[in-house]
């Protein structure tokens, strides 16, 4: 115990944390041995603006830093695309955004595009068969209940199911379509956007059909029908152009619009769809 005590100004600077490191260390050293100054620090600390020492807020921020999970890559992409933070999280939770799926889809498309690019006629047919189906399969997998059972806590929240279905579908399309487009560029002889309309049409069909049956069943039926069509065309024509000519593009557009209309009309029957992940 010494006869010296810290002056008011020094203590105030210490409490408000505007002192230098050396000054702070020496005050601290003194406080350890001086009960009188410790009491004065207490008084000074309660007198300062609570913003400076809002311990609760500091503690909350600390816990946030530890507990709040860091946003995933897809969540950050969605935010960068302009989606509000909370909706970006809701969309990114969908299983389709779990990396694995995206990598799988990209790999299949890459393989098909490569096969087509090196010139094998069969490769081109393969690409034609696979590329337009990829987005609707991703949509189906992200909504199918078999994939993720027991989602009732999510079902009975006030968040509108329809909004979530549409947000997630748009996000899946936004991620899958550029991939289809990119690989389409590698494939010779076709305008890259020619694959887009069938892909969008099939997604709309899956959404509409899943107001009756499970999305995965719908996607499998769509896939079977499409593969059959491609096979029929392949046996009759030497070039895949027939499937993607202007007339069939109009047909795909009509298919997409009609299916989406049906989906909206029947949106009360979303129970088959599990939009929650």
């Amino acid at each position: 115990m010494t006869g010296w005590h810290a002056d008011d100004e020094t203590l105030r600077r210490y409490v408000e944390r505007i002192d230098s490191v050396a000054e702070g260390a020496s005050v601290e050293q003194h406080l350890l041995s001086c009960a009188q100054c410790r009491a004065r620090v207490n008084t000074a600390a309660t007198a300062v603006d609570p913003v400076v020492v809002d311990l609760a807020a500091v503690w909350d921020r600390t816990r946030d830093a530890v507990e709040v999970p860091r946003p995933s890559v897809s969540e950050r992409l969605l935010r960068a695309a302009g989606l509000p933070a909370h909706e970006a999280r809701l969309v990114a939770v969908a299983s389709a955004f779990r990396g694995v799926w995206l990598v799988g889809v990209a790999a299949v498309l890459a393989f098909a595009a490569l096969a087509a690019a090196v010139g094998h006629a069969r490769g081109l047919w393969f690409f034609l068969a696979v590329a337009p189906l990829a987005p609707c399969l991703v949509v189906a997998f992200s909504y199918d209940r078999r994939w993720d059972p027991a989602l009732e806590p999510e079902m009975v929240t006030p968040y509108p199911a329809l909004r979530l279905v549409l947000l997630r579908t748009i996000a899946v399309l936004a991620l899958a379509l550029p991939a289809v487009l990119l690989f389409g560029l590698v494939v010779p002889g076709q305008a890259p956007f020619a694959w887009l309309l069938p892909a969008i049409g099939f997604v709309a069909v899956v959404l509409a059909a899943s107001t009756w049956v499970s999305p995965l069943n719908a996607a499998m039926a769509v896939s079977a029908a499409w593969l059959m069509t491609v096979w029929l065309v392949a046996t009759r024509s030497a070039s895949p152009a027939a499937v993607l000519q202007a007339r069939s593009q109009v047909a795909f557009l009509v298919l997409a619009a009609a299916s989406f209309g049906i989906f909206l009309v029947r949106r009360r029957h979303l129970r088959q769809l599990r939009p929650w992940r």
């Binding site: 507990e67 999970p69 509000p84 999280r89 806590p153 009975v156 929240t157 006030p158």
Partner: protein
Amino acid sequence: MTASISLRGAGRTFGATRALADVDLDLEPGVIGLLGPNGAGKTTLLRLLATALPPTQGEIRVLGRDPEVPAERTGIRRRLGYLPQEVGFPRGFTAFAFVDYIALLKEWTEPAARHAEVRRALDQVGLSDVATKRIRAMSGGQRRRVALAQALLGSPPVLILDEPTSGVDPEQRVTLRTVLAEIARTSIVVLSTHQTEDVAALCERVIVLDRGQVRYDGQVTELVRQAAGRVWLADQPDPAATVSWRTGTGRYRNVAAHARDGVEHVEPSLEDAYLLLRGELPDSQPAKEVAS
């Protein structure tokens, strides 16, 4: 007007199976316990109340709102906490991330308020310390409490809990009872359980379901009182008893449909009363001697 739930002739069928038939109930704030054997319709009833399933007959009003009308259903869901029997967790989620995700769906859009509420809910179920642990790495009881935490978000006026204490250890069960009793001062808490001790310790009112119908609805104490004079200890299983089992002391606890004299009567428990009630039901005789 006090918060209330009412069911009038409510029922639910799944194909040809009738899971619940003609249920009339009025529920007010407090803890209401649902007892019944497997397949009695407890989960179906809770799912109807939680708007997870529409009834196929009759009508339901939750806080004066009709769950069949979409806008009113959303209104109910804003005031509802629901713990289903089984909860699936997204892969890789921590306890905090999961409860936070449900909070988003419950329209807590402001991050600071949402995080504070998530912490409060996790704290209520005693999981603050493991908030950053992955759910898949947790024990069954911890997972159950994570699932319960999401139901407690926003301290809703209606809380529907399907077996909240299954897999939870005795100490935590006691803590949860305190939490639920506190919430039930202003909220309607309906819970199903196989633990008669939970009902005895927590509920003022008990509803016993059997094969889709309400077999008892009233005070827990009244149900227990019905068993007075019909429970006794003996060195051997009594042939007159409806049920008897060997207790830890080596003696047999006998429960009979009719009062009996000249035996060593003991204080009946809710379990005795429940077994007795079950034993009186036609075609549902429990095994003469049950394992204990």
